[in-house]
Structures are given as structure tokens and as C-alpha cells.
């Protein structure tokens, strides 16, 4: 792990300043209503202004778990191949391995709907902190969570009404210090336009993932549709396939998923000691099962193209995050920052009077350790990737929750959020029964392992069956793979659900009370008290540091600024760019360092000097995948698809000397469209005036 040496070498020099003392240069995932424009322009010598920000915001797109951007006036959306891989996987059949072969079109009639996919463009941000805080005032534990979520559900409903073109979402920022209503233009018809052959994207495989130099053609195109036609999108960003220049300013507008930079040291200790090890253990075993499964046949390999890569990516991320927290100098810096912040709070009588939120949070961590296995296995990780289980749970919960008033529902089933759940459940998609069985058996096994054979919830779940037999039986007999069956159950409501003899529906009906109890216990003893304490920390932070602090990532639109730059990995200087020639030098012919068919075949057609990928100092995290890499003029010069290994520690703190964003250049994407895949029509559209 090259990461580690860098961290250890960096030692106490760590720039973890966001923890308590305001962001340092090039650090930060800033909301668009609080971007540090003066600071950006001073540091980068740029001319960012409100118009620039608005333009970029309206060109930035959120898709499921990823980021993207509008790059033509007819709804063309740039993102990563790995962000559309699960869509391409659903088109893949034993006869045609779409992920391996790539997805190409000759015209719009070839574009195909991605199941469950939406595209969202941020229109407006409204501060709703007083409403949410007011509704939850004086409450603690689960009562706090419920009151807060009820108000959020109400605000979201009021904000967008029943307009199917809008989505309203209340985002909690600063770990509870602020609540903002994000209003999005929503497209629910999103189609796949282009995804290159897999090996062009995963060249270097897991070994090169989160590394640099990197040779991954990780770009793809979607298109948003409206009323069955390509949507008009005049607010798109300009595509600029020029060579990126080392040192030039770069911006990333995207949706970083989650960071933990504002968490207390006690919370980080618990992540290092309980959360991450459990994740590493679970994903490592799943990875092992999937690797062997893939090796069994070409068709198994086809089935796992999306799944295995996803598991490996998440595992590598979790291990990298763990290594950051395991590094003494890293945690020492965190402790120093926290001590400084505590001293500043103690010195302010008004703040000091609000008690000891650090101590309160520390006291909760034993409960975190005890409650986590139940909460994860029964609730957050339930089904472990089984689409069929996901359908069953959503159908059962939607039916149950719809019988309740909006303010008493689980948040994801409130009126404003139900359309997304419905779309994800009812959109047709291909199911792979063998893989479903593997996932379900794995999850049932791990649940028994984590909770113990004799736990009542495990007895309820398994009865006298083995995990393997139960998984095989349920997958063989369920009809939930049929979208019409799902639609009928959705429409039929609780009567249809309780009358269903589908084994997965029955399984969820039997086990969901335990899952809800696990969630309730977590909310009462962990989430509620943590969020109440974190709220006070946020307010203290605002008072002490003002607007120099940015909120932790929350899967909502953020702006990061930086430059194209290499870094020093120990003694080795890492150059900021790669080119096509480098790919051919790195290729060995043996997986995963084998060239894709097209790269092998058309070497002579490519310009060896074309810049393939770039490293930048932008501060990003998982969820930023697919974000446009934007230059000072607001034009798209690449697609962000990764960070380097040190950037994994970015979950907890940004170190500008080593953390790097990795993007594929627009120049390379365009060259591939033309020279490798004959997608001239897309190039034409991208470059239309």
C-alpha cells in the first residue's frame, strides 16, 4: 500500500484543519450557496462569480450513487462507465455480455432505459433549519429522530407537491447544524447511450484501482428523456476536448457521498475498531465467493461483471479508510485538533454552558459496538445485494407505511419519497437467479454469524432451514422477478401483500418486525443522542470558525476547486498526467493488464501523446464518480472517476500534499469515440455549436 508510507511520512504535518479550524487551501466540498468565491479566485487566479456558479450548478447532474453533467442541448449526460455498469449489466444475457462488449448506438433509437435510474439537477437551496429544529425541539432519542423526520417529510411534500418533474429533498448539513431544502429538476426516463467495452475501463483491475498512473477509459453517456423524447437541455456545459495542462485550475461539481471529517475522535475510534473491520470482513468473504463464482464459467463471469467490481471497490475503500485511522500520526493530528476546539469552546461561557457533547458522544460508543451487528445485518445490509430481497422489502414496507399518516412513516416512504421507491421497484430489469441465491445465502449466513445461532431473530429468520437451502428455495419459487407481479403487489397494497404466497414476501413479513426493532434501538440509543450532540458541536463550530467550515459530504451537490498536479509518493515523483503511449507500455497481455480488443486492434489509429488521465488536487470522495472536471471557463475537460490511495483517508481529512482526484480527459473520451468505437454521431453532438 503506497498510501501508508505517505501517511507515515507526512506525520504530524497533516492538514486536518477542517476538523475544527477552517479549511486550508484547495480543501473542501463546498455547497453552492456557500462557495468561498473570493478565496478560490485569490488562490487560483480565476474569475468565478455567481453566474459561473449558476451555470455549473445547472449543468451538474445527480444520478443514483454517482455524479454526471449535461454536455449537449439534447439531454446528453456524461458520467463514468462504472456508474452505468449496473444498467448495462441488466441488458446482459447469456447470449450477449453487454458489459464486456460495450454498449454502442448508431442513433437514438438504440438508446435503452436504465432501470431505476433518475437524473436530478439542482434548482434551488432553501434554508429550513428553523422549521426542522423547531419541530424536534426538546426531544431526545428515537422521539427526536421521528419528529425531525416527520418535519422533513412535510417540508419535502410541501416543497414540490405532486409535480413529477421535481424532487425535493431536505439535506442535513454539518451533522445536524443546518437543514436545507434541495429542489431538483428530475428526469425519470434516463437511457444508456454509450459505454465502452469493460476491459478498456478496468485495465489494471483491482490492483490499479485507487492508483495512479492510471489507464481507464471510465466514461459513458446517458441521455435524459422527457415525454418519450430527448429532453431539451440548453443549460448544458460546454464540452472541450482539449489537452488539460499541468497546473491549470480545475473544478469538480458533483455529489460526494459521505465523509466523517467533523466526527469526534471517539466516533473515529469506533469506525476504526467496529464499523470498518466488520465491513472489511464481510466484503472480503463476499469478494472471495464472487471471484470463485466468476471463475466457474463464462456466464458466471458475465453475471458478476458489475457486482464483483463494486464489491472490490468498496472493500478497497474501507481498507484504505481503516489504514488512515490506524495511522498514529493521523489520529494524533485529529486529537490535537479536537483538543484545540474543545479549549476554544471551554473559553466561551455561552458555548461551555451547553455541556460536553464530546463526552456524550464518547459514552455512546459501547452501544454502537453492541447494536451495530443487529442494525447492519437486519436493516442497512439486509439482503446484501439481492435485488429480489430488495423488491420484497420495499413492497412490504411501502404497503405498511402507506396506511400511516405521512408524518408517521419511515422517511423513505413519505409521500415525497415514494415515487423513487416505486420507480426502483417497478422498473423492469434482468435478474440473475444464481447470483441472487449466492447473495441471499451469504447474507443469511453472515446474519447468523454476527448475531449468533440462538438469537431469537435468527431463529425467526431461519427456523430449521440452512441458509443455503432457504436461499435456493426462495429464489426458485419467488415471482418477484416479474415486473408485472411487482406492479400488482404495489397497487394491491397491504391486502395483496398479506395475501401473497410469494416466499420472499412471506419472509419479509415474518422478519421485518425484528429489522424495525433493530432500527428503533439504533435510533433511540445511537442516532438520536449522537445527532443531538452533533448539533451542538456544529453550532459551536459556526460560532468559533464562522463560514470557514464546510459541511461533511452528504450525497448532495458540492463544488471543489484545485489544480492539475502530481505528488510525491515517498521518494517517487508522480507525474500529473498520463498518455496513450503509457497504456501500451503498461500492458503485459495478462489479466488484468491486458488490452481491450479495440485498444489492441487500433493502436495505430490513436495518437500516443493524447492525455489519457489527469491527477488533480480537488477534494472529492466516493459519489463524485462521474463528476465533470471543469476548467476556469466552466467547460468540461474530463470526467472524474477515482481518487488515489491517499484520497481514501479523505473520508477523515484532506491532505493537499498527497490526496488526488483522478479523471479521464475529454480529449481521450473523444478520441475513443472516434477511433475505437465509431461513435461519430456523439462527437458531433458534443461539439455542436
Amino acid at each position: 500500500m503506497r498510501t501508508l508510507k505517505s501517511w507515515l511520512a507526512a506525520g504530524a504535518a497533516f492538514a486536518l484543519s477542517a476538523v475544527a479550524s477552517g479549511a486550508s487551501a484547495e480543501e473542501g466540498m463546498w455547497t453552492f450557496d456557500a462557495a468561498p468565491v473570493a478565496q478560490i479566485n485569490a488562490e487560483l487566479d480565476t474569475h468565478v462569480d455567481q453566474a459561473w456558479l449558476d451555470k455549473v450548478r445547472l449543468g451538474a447532474v445527480r444520478i443514483s450513487g454517482c455524479s454526471a453533467s449535461l454536455v449537449s442541448s439534447e439531454g446528453l449526460v456524461l458520467t463514468n462507465q462504472h456508474c452505468v455498469r449496473s444498467c448495462a449489466q441488466t441488458f446482459s444475457t447469456p447470449e450477449r455480455d453487454v458489459v464486456r462488449e460495450g454498449f454502442f448506438t448508431t442513433g437514438r433509437e438504440d438508446e435503452r432505459v436504465c432501470a431505476g435510474q433518475t437524473a436530478e439537477i439542482l434548482l434551488e437551496i432553501v434554508d429550513v433549519t428553523p422549521r426542522v429544529s423547531g419541530a424536534a425541539a426538546g426531544k431526545t432519542g428515537q422521539a427526536f429522530v421521528k419528529a425531525r423526520d416527520a418535519e422533513i417529510g412535510l417540508i419535502e411534500k410541501e416543497g414540490c407537491g405532486t409535480d413529477a418533474k421535481l424532487r425535493c429533498q431536505v439535506i442535513s448539513l454539518h451533522r445536524g447544524g443546518q437543514y436545507k431544502l434541495y429542489k431538483y429538476r428530475k428526469y425519470a426516463d434516463v437511457r444508456l447511450v454509450y459505454a465502452p467495452e469493460a476491459q478498456a475501463v478496468v485495465f489494471g483491475g483491482d490492483p490499479d484501482n485507487f492508483n495512479f498512473p492510471r489507464y481507464a477509459l471510465d466514461a459513458a453517456f446517458l441521455r435524459v428523456y422527457e415525454d418519450g423524447k430527448p429532453a431539451k437541455t440548453p443549460n448544458h456545459l460546454k464540452w472541450n476536448p482539449r489537452a488539460p495542462k499541468p497546473g491549470e485550475p480545475t473544478f469538480v461539481a458533483g455529489n460526494p457521498g459521505s465523509t466523517s471529517r467533523l466526527k469526534t475522535v471517539a466516533q473515529l475510534d469506533a469506525e476504526r475498531d467496529w464499523m470498518l473491520p466488520a465491513t472489511i470482513k464481510r466484503l472480503s468473504e463476499l469478494r472471495g465467493r464472487l471471484i470463485r463464482y466468476a471463475e466457474e464459467s463464462d456466464d458466471h463471469r458475465r453475471q458478476t461483471r458489475d457486482a464483483l467490481r463494486g464489491v472490490e471497490n468498496n472493500l478497497k475503500r474501507a481498507y484504505g479508510m481503516h489504514q488512515a485511522l490506524a495511522t498514529t500520526s493521523f489520529m494524533d493530528a485529529k486529537r490535537t485538533e479536537e483538543a484545540k476546539f474543545r479549549a476554544q469552546v471551554a473559553a466561551d461561557p455561552a458555548l461551555a454552558a451547553t455541556g460536553d457533547p464530546w463526552g456524550e458522544i464518547a459514552a455512546l460508543q459501547d452501544d454502537v459496538a453492541v447494536l451495530l451487528p443487529r442494525y447492519e445485518q437486519l436493516e442497512t445490509q439486509a439482503g446484501q445485494g439481492s435485488a429480489l430481497y430488495g423488491y420484497a422489502r420495499t413492497l412490504v414496507r411501502a404497503a405498511q407505511e402507506k396506511t400511516k399518516p405521512n408524518g408517521e412513516r419511515l422517511l423513505d416512504y413519505t409521500e415525497a419519497r415514494l415515487p423513487l421507491a416505486e420507480k426502483r421497484t417497478l422498473d423492469p430489469r434482468r435478474i440473475e437467479p444464481e447470483l441472487e441465491t449466492l447473495y441471499l445465502a451469504f447474507w443469511l449466513n453472515k446474519t447468523r454469524e454476527a448475531l449468533g445461532t440462538d438469537a431469537p431473530s435468527v431463529q425467526t429468520m431461519l427456523g430449521k432451514e440452512s441458509p443455503e437451502a432457504m436461499a435456493a428455495r426462495m429464489v426458485a419459487a419467488t415471482k418477484l422477478g416479474d415486473p408485472a407481479v411487482r406492479a400488482a403487489l404495489w397497487a394491491g397494497g397491504l391486502d395483496a401483500i398479506t395475501a401473497s404466497d410469494d416466499p420472499l414476501i412471506q419472509f419479509v413479513l415474518k422478519t421485518d418486525a425484528d429489522a424495525r426493532a433493530a432500527r428503533a434501538a439504533w435510533e433511540e440509543r445511537v442516532e438520536g443522542p449522537t445527532d443531538r450532540a452533533a448539533e451542538r458541536l456544529a453550532l459551536a463550530r459556526f460560532k468559533v470558525y464562522g463560514d470557514r467550515v464546510y459541511p461533511d459530504a452528504t450525497g448532495s451537490l458540492r463544488l471543489s476547486y484545485g489544480r492539475i498536479a502530481g505528488w510525491k509518493d515517498g521518494d517517487r515523483e508522480v507525474a500529473p498526467t498520463t498518455n496513450v503511449a503509457g497504456l501500451y507500455e503498461r500492458a503485459t497481455g495478462a489479466a488484468p493488464f491486458d488490452l481491450s480488443a479495440k485498444f489492441a486492434e487500433r493502436k495505430a489509429q490513436l495518437d500516443p501523446a493524447t492525455i489519457f488521465t489527469v491527477a488533480t488536487t480537488n477534494d472529492i470522495i466516493g459519489g463524485n464518480s462521474g463528476s465533470p472536471l471543469i476548467d476556469a471557463k466552466g467547460e468540461v475537460i474530463g470526467a472524474v472517476f477515482d481518487g488515489n490511495l491517499p484520497s481514501l483517508g479523505g473520508a477523515y481529512g484532506y491532505d493537499g500534499t498527497t490526496n488526488r482526484t483522478v479523471a479521464v480527459s475529454a480529449a481521450m473520451v473523444q478520441q475513443a469515440l472516434l477511433k475505437l468505437y465509431g461513435q461519430d454521431h456523439l462527437v458531433k453532438e458534443l461539439n455542436a455549436k
Copy 2:
């Protein structure tokens, strides 16, 4: 995990007193030359004396990685089935799944030699501390390690000469405070006599492993031979198949493998943050690969019976150890103990003058983190279970080391130790090529993952091949599965090795320099300085606490004392014994809770009241498997095969309120021999006057 709640509940009440303040009641893995006889007799109301100790010592047997005992005058040895499983596995063929079916005999002619197995009985302990310390005086880093090991090699050679019936081994105790020469009577012809059908042993599978109540018939018999005939063993222990009684005193004489109770807090932090997570990650993925491999066919399941169970056991152990170190109250207790010890040392001018060994050790932990991946992947974990790779490495290193003087060799290749390496390499054993390929590919993959694709040692190893292709190629072409080929290479020495075109020999020749360099770096920067500091800690501990401290486990003979007792798991009282009726109640018919064929078929022949397993307060750890459970009279009333989940934390500290040893009763073993397997001849031998 039931462990966790117990730990958290126990809180600061932890009896981690061995850390610095002397052992508490029933704690301790005592050497036979320093057993606390007075304390034992006072606490248990027993009459242990030197004669009792000598008798038990001469009846106790060390086998590879496990413990055992002599139980007849004709060389019959009691141990666990899981300690002979790898032997039975080597007899297993596609036609006959010996582990699944069990191994039974009608007479001694059916007994079969276990490849690589030896049995050792401790004859004498001699203090050689002055010699070892003197030889290493004034040296540091790798020079210290080399000087120490050279002296150890010399002492071992002088101690036993060339007598093939003896083995001499210098054991480092108290992490370097003492060196003792252990002189063993060695039997190199060890044969399998009896191993029950696997499902009778692994009932409950991984879920029940390290749990209690437990229904595992985990006992087996070996026999030691001399000159081709059963050895005369008049010093055997008396077999007593009576019902064990709750509360009665029990002793365990066996070879606990490794504990870390005397390590400093900085070392424990590194175990929690670096060593154990790496192990958990590696073993989890291997487990996943093996599980899926086993599911592919009956023959794959047969091949993995030993391997999968072993991996799961080690993984569960590592995770349990990690959970102990992740528990705040546990580490708080460790910190308190260390602070107390440091204060006592600081108060003693002579001790204080020896510097700050705790600080020195803490300063080494960054190097531990950096050097560990190379050291593990290239040296200690090399080959990850591949027998063929193990042969190749031993053959290459033996050939290289034999050209050097004894004092300059790697310790395992010194004259006193070569016979064991030779036996393990040359004994015939069945090889499973598919499984070998899986192991090798896995190891090559993990090595690339841990060190990085571009690391020179990885480039040397893989060249332009993929791990999978390289593993398949080497396993297909190697001839090292043939014992005659191995014997010829062993006899041929370095000339034969360098002339060999065997791909595995060539692979080791090409890569071993990097492995040796990783070892050298570890010795120079971690092992040497750690051991030098630990030595001073040991001497300080002796001075402050006298003989109230016992050494950490080192795979050498120890005595533990305790009682048959249940415990409280949270609110639940766990009874100290189980009986046959309980097995039938727990059986569900679904794996792994399905009855073995014989248990299913012969239920009516068994006495439901027979005590199946017992829990005791004895302080044990992995390596103690197979130890005799001995009563106050020195008679064998069971075979130790496991601990409960809290006992996994026993690697770092003993908590008498929850740590439990688990043993199968001699009564149950005898009933199974008679009623299930028709092994009346063994029962007769066991009960001979």
C-alpha cells in the same frame, strides 16, 4: 457475538492482572519447572506434588500445532479429531472421503502413518539464559537476532547430538527474559488409529465453534511407533471414562501456541490496527473462495474438509481477538496495568536506569505497519497453504543453508532442526492440484495487492503473467508432488536445486532473495529492537513481581488449573456440562445442525444422560487442542478441544468470570467408540490394567 456483551458488561472489573501484577486465581499457563503448587493446592484443595507433576509431564504429548496424551502402555495417544484431520485428509481420495466417513481400524495393521507428524514428550528443562544472553550481549537489530539464534542452534545441537529419538529446542520465555532448553523424547512414526466421521465432530459448524453448549465428538487416537512396532509407553496417563462433576478440579497439560499478555499497550494497538485487520481481510477472502469451491462438487467438498474448517477457525479466532482489543474497557484495563508497572519501575532506581523500553517499543510501531505487508506476504504467509510451494521453499532453503556453518543458518535449518524439516518435506502425502492452484493464485494475488503491482519484488514474482495463469502453470508442471523427486532434490543439495527445471523450484530461486530481505528488514527494525526492549521489561517484571508471573504461551508444555464451571453470558446462566440428549434437541436436520449418520442411526443405543462436553475455568489458548483434561488424581477424563468466545480475548488477558475451556468427556468418547463405531478393541486397550 456473545463475547462482546460480556466484555462490555465486565468493564473495568477485568482481571488482567497477569499483565504486570501477578496471576489471579486459576489464571496462568505455567511451565512445569515453575508451577505454583502451593497456590494450586490451596485454591483447589488438591494434593499436587512433584511426583504428580512428573507423571503428568511424561504423559503429555506435543504433536504438530496441537497437544495430546499417552493413554495406554502401547503408545496410544488421545488428541482431537481436528488435530488429525489434515492427516485423514491425506488419505482421502475421490473414491473415499475419509474425513467425512471417519477412520476406523479393526487392528493395528489398519493404522496408517501421518505424513510429517511427530510426537514429543518433555523429559527435561534446563536454564540456558546465561549462555544465550551472553552470546547476544551488546548486540542490536539483526545482529542481535543472528547471535541469539546462532547460540540457540548450538545449544540445541549440543543438547541432543544426533540421537534420532531426542529433540532439543530452546524456548524463549517471558518475551526474552529467560531461555530454557526443552529436551524431548521424539517419536517420528506416528499413525492414525481412529477419527470419527466429520459431522459428529463439526456438528454446529462454524456457528457453534467457540461457543457453548457444544456437541462435538472432537476426539481421535494416534499411536506412536518405534522400529515399526507400537512403542512401549509405561508412563501413560490413566484413562477414566467417568462422568465429570461440576465444580471438580481440572488440569490441562498441553502446548498453548501463543499469547500476547506481556506485550505493551503500543504493541496491542498495532495488533488491533495492523496485524489483525490484515489477517481478517486475508482469511475472509480465502474463506469465501474455499466455500464456493467446496459448493462446486462433492469432490471439491471432500478436498476442502480440512482446509475450510482450519481457515474458519483461524478467522474466528482473529476476529475474536480483535474484538477484545477493540473493547474500550479491555484496553483501559491494559493501560491502567501498564501505568502501574511503569510507576513501580520508575520508583526503583536500578530499574529506572535501564531506560524506557515501553517508549522504545512504541517508537517501533510505525515500522511494524510499514514492514508488515512485505514480511507477511513474502515470508511468514508465503504460499498461503500450498503444500507444493512449501516443499519448494524448504528444499531450496535447506540446500542453501546446508552450505553454511551451523551458526550462520536460518534457525529452522540448523543441524538440530533439519531432521524435522526433512521429515515434513519427504514424508509421502496426497496433493490436491486444484486446491493447490487456488492457494497459489490467491497468495500471488494478495501479494500483489499488499505490495502494489509496481513493487520490484512483485515484478520479479509475476513478470508478465497473471497470478491465476502462473499458479495453474506451476502446479501443472511441477513434479514436487512425488516424494521420490523431493528426496532426490534433498539429497542432491544445491547442485541439484540449481540444475532443477521444476517451475516451483525455479520460482523460489528467483524470489527467495526478496523474502530473505523482508525477513532481514523485519529482524533489523522490528524483531531485534523489540526483543531487546522486551528482555528488559521481563527482568523488571521478575524484580517487581517475582515468580507470580508466568510467561506468555510459546507452543511449549504448560500446566493450567481450574474447575468445571459454567458462566454468566449477560443474563443467561450457561450450565457447565451438556449431555447426549442435548445434541438431539439441538439438531434441526439442516447443515450444519444435522446429525452425523451414526448419531442419527444409533440414537437408541446411546445413554441420553451421558455427559458430552464440559466447560472449565482452565486458562488455555489455541495449541492446547487435544490436551488431556486431567482430574485431581492425574487421570484423563476428557480431551480439550475449544474455548468459548470470551476465551479468544485470552490471547491478551484472562477473565475467570467468562473465559472457559471446552472439552469432550472421556465417557462420551468411550461410548462413541463402543456404540457408534464398534471400536471395542480400543476401549479394551484404554481400560487395560
